[in-house]
Symmetry: C2
Subunit: 151 residues, 2 copies
């Protein structure tokens, strides 16, 4: 942990990152709400499960992918199951756990969310920066990740 106060450029970049990310999330959530659709977190989970395919995912695998706390994943999955968007299957070799799989209704919901979410992304980012700038941005952000991504 560095002990001294950050440089002015650092503070400025930090402030921008905080403000912009919150603004973009808020606008996107508003767009989803306006369309009568569930929040972003639902999309994230449905997306990961769709990518995972028929094999599904264990809840603990979902946790690091979607960056949610364990209890949030547990409860979100319960809500998704109640809506019939995912199903939980017992897993043979681990009596504690379960496998979660997306249902056809879940895929359909994911598709409907994407229609709005994708448009929001294009609107808020794609229209504002060039392809080259987007790549520069992604590269710089990748270096802030943990673990960092060089590219």
């Amino acid at each position: 942990m560095t002990r001294k106060s950050p440089a002015p450029e650092t503070i400025k970049a930090w402030g921008r990152l905080m403000r912009v990310s919150r603004q973009l999330v808020e606008r996107t959530e508003d767009a989803l709400k306006a369309g009568g659709l569930p929040p972003l977190a639902w999309y994230d989970v449905l997306h990961e499960l769709a990518e995972a395919g028929e094999g599904g995912l264990r809840p603990f695998e979902l946790i690091d992918r979607v960056l949610l706390a364990q209890y949030n994943v547990s409860r979100l999955l319960a809500r998704l199951e109640a809506e019939g968007l995912v199903e939980k299957l017992p897993v043979s070799d681990d009596g504690r756990g379960q496998t979660v799989r997306i249902t056809p209704a879940g895929r359909e919901t994911r598709r409907r969310i994407w229609a709005v979410y994708g448009a929001s992304i294009a609107d808020l980012m794609g229209d504002k920066l060039s392809a080259k700038e987007l790549e520069t941005l992604a590269g710089l952000l990748g270096r802030l990740r943990d673990p960092p991504i060089a590219e």
Copy 2:
């Protein structure tokens, strides 16, 4: 609103932005908790009020500065007042409103939060990118703001 799906570079940059910003916030909140300090939102409000000086700020002015909903500001200010970190003063020319001013205890708390927050910023951003890169990042993010900042 653009109707088509965003380009791959756009999606990638979006994903990085979402993931990185959440990761950085989470780590910073963890650092504050570990230090027995209040959450980031408290800092934001105390910071704005400190900048505003003796004149203080009206709650509605705080709302757009800190990007919180009206009811969140209302309740956050109530908590800060209960802790003696801010004080509410009636405002002469508008009987509905009030002016909120930071107290000495509030300044002290802000200082203590910054000791950890600033170190976290330096650690998570300052140490990862050069000054030039930080400026590039801030510039690109500025263009995503609403209203956008060209520089």
